[in-house]
Amino acid sequence: MQHFSARYHDGRRSIAHDATLTLRPDHWLIHYQDPSGELTSARWTLPGIVTDENFSDLFIFRYGSFPQQTIECKDRQLPAALTQHYPDRVFFKKGISRLFKLSNTAIAGMAVLVVALLGVAYWYGLPLLASAVASRVPVSAEVEMGDTMYENLLHGYDVDSTLTVKVNDFARSIDFKTRYPIRVTVVREKDANAFALPGGNIVVFDGILRKMKTKEELAALLAHEVSHVHYRHSLRNVLRSLGGYLFLSILLNDINGIVTVLADNSNALANLTYSRELETEADQKAMAIFQSEGLNIKGFVDLFTMLKGEHGDMTNLKLLSTHPLTEDRLRAAEAAVKGQRNVKEDAGLERKWEDIERGYHGDE
């Protein structure tokens, strides 16, 4: 017969009784002195005993219905004694709480694992999830969402309505082969930049227009941005950044952050970056448009060269971050030029281009 010293609470008053716990075949006996000094005992039948899950070396058991009686025991021999006396009954479940009692090395290992998992989830999991979700969003919903973002975004810009009309007219003459309604907006910004929103809105800074020499350069820019729209690159990016914010705010236990994300996200669009794969994909589709339209792919070479020159002497690397221009992209365009056969001169498009050129030279 084994005895253990324990503390007993009767569940009615807050007295901590020093008690002796005796393990009997089908019940526990708890002996203690009540306040008057009389020796009293409590009998706990086995089925009613519940083990408290806890993290320290204190073993706590409860008995009965509310308000429960409790005993606390610090004796480390207790678990072994319990298995010996009651081989059929599991008092300490091998639950998750066991994980908490692991060694420091195991905990440190787990910490490394968590940090690694977070990194993988953020850099690999999110983009995958974003494109999976993006491919399931119907075009109409995407257009609607993109238009809402566009309206929010445009407050920050000064729209050049004359140029907007002209560039839209220009864009309509090219068949971009996409289901999306393409709408271009020209805004007064001196940076050489342009970006696409989900659902077909393209924002072009007049700074980039002014630096173009040929209609093919503009067509190349538009075809490239349309391709981002067509392949839902912007939607994927929006979802990804939304997911990123969500991820961080959940991680930091800040649910309020989600509201901020929904409110501010559209403004972050102008600064989104595409991965190199997405850029290449967009270039390929854009050049395919040029092929079928009979436009000279040299436009891409000129556009990339112009942008390269821009960033060579500019401290503002904004466009560089939006469209990471690499020698590879320039070279790919040059190779495509050599492969092109069917270049046609489109007089109508040329007239529209000249009109655009007159438009911005007019107000200089």
Binding site: D52, N54, F55, P67, M110, M145
Partner: protein
């Protein structure tokens, strides 16, 4: 009984940063792996640990809540939130000004109603799941009464540009403490709105003037105003709470904790939490002749945990 003249008692916190770190890591890992479903269990584990490392008169506190109970609340809370955000999102998508404004209104009115419901629910659940020496805490506030008080108070606060906020906070504290029970022990809060307002007014002004240095004195005063106005009653006996926190103490706590968190890129946050808990417990004294053996069980069982998780979602910190 003259021995009781200078009786004072304190809570003590025995948690260790390393242990707490282990719990955080396991919690984050399992929450991630289960895509968030583990969250209620993670929270139960954390609370259990924090409670069992808190000691009063040689006995530890216990948190009886379970992940399973909180999971039900968690699902309800998520449902409510998805509903509210759904309304807001659809309204924003409509691109019709009236509908958008209507959506925003529904969203904020919804939040205004949810906050007091969350506070009430969380108080009911958390107190009923907390015990010491087998005696349970309890909260006897009435949801309708609290909801009315909260909505009226919020509206007055908005219309007075926040000035009424000080009175509102005190009113809420008074209500909560009035309805708080620990077995047959009752509580009250004796703060006053005007004193609280001027304390904040002065604190804000001096903090701005001194480029933030006064902030530590302000924090100390706020803590003292909270603690010193708590009263505890055991039958005819009145017990008072007393803060011994100093501005210097606050300064050390905040600066060191900031350094710990920033320099470890957040990884050492559990150690900062342990320091903060120790600071709070070390600076609260309970004065008066409390008979720690004579507290009797009075409160009933309560298991609805919806409020607990709603409170989490709206980011209302309890305890």
């Amino acid at each position: 009984m003259e021995l009781h003249q200078n009786e004072t008692r304190q809570l003590s916190f025995h948690g260790e940063g390393a242990k707490l770190f282990g719990i955080y890591i396991v919690n984050i890992l399992l929450t991630m792996v289960t895509l968030g479903i583990y969250y209620p269990w993670a929270k139960a584990a954390l609370l259990k640990y924090m409670y069992e490392e808190s000691e009063f008169e040689g006995s530890r506190f216990t948190f009886h809540g379970t992940g399973k109970e909180m999971f039900k609340g968690f699902i309800k809370a998520i449902g409510i939130f998805i509903g509210l955000y759904g309304i807001l999102f659809l309204a924003a998508l409509s691109r019709n000004f009236t509908i958008t404004m209507l959506g925003v209104a529904v969203f904020y009115i919804g939040l205004l109603i949810l906050v007091p419901i969350a506070i009430h629910g969380a108080l009911r659940y958390r107190t009923s799941r907390s015990s010491w020496r087998g005696i349970h805490f309890g909260y006897r506030g009435d949801r309708k009464e609290f909801l009315n008080m909260f909505i009226v108070g919020s509206l007055i606060t908005i219309f007075t540009f926040g000035i009424y906020g000080a009175w509102f906070v005190i009113e809420i504290r008074k209500y909560i403490f009035k309805n708080l029970r620990f077995g047959n022990i009752t509580f009250s809060y004796e703060g006053e709105g005007s004193a609280f307002f001027w304390m904040n007014f002065k604190g804000y002004l001096l903090t701005v003037i001194t480029f933030g240095i006064y902030f530590f004195w302000w924090a100390k005063e706020l803590f003292a105003y909270y603690v010193d106005n708590i009263r505890m009653y055991q039958g005819e006996t009145r017990l008072t709470f007393r803060s011994t926190a100093t501005a210097g103490g606050y300064f050390k706590l905040i600066i060191v904790n900031l350094l710990i968190i920033v320099l470890s890129l957040g990884l050492a946050t559990p150690w900062a939490i342990v320091r903060a808990m120790q600071f709070v417990f070390n600076h609260i004294h309970i004065d008066g002749p409390l008979d720690v053996n004579a507290i009797t069980q009075t409160e009933a069982d309560y298991t609805d945990a919806t409020g607990e998780d709603l409170a989490d979602m709206i980011d209302i910190g309890l305890v």
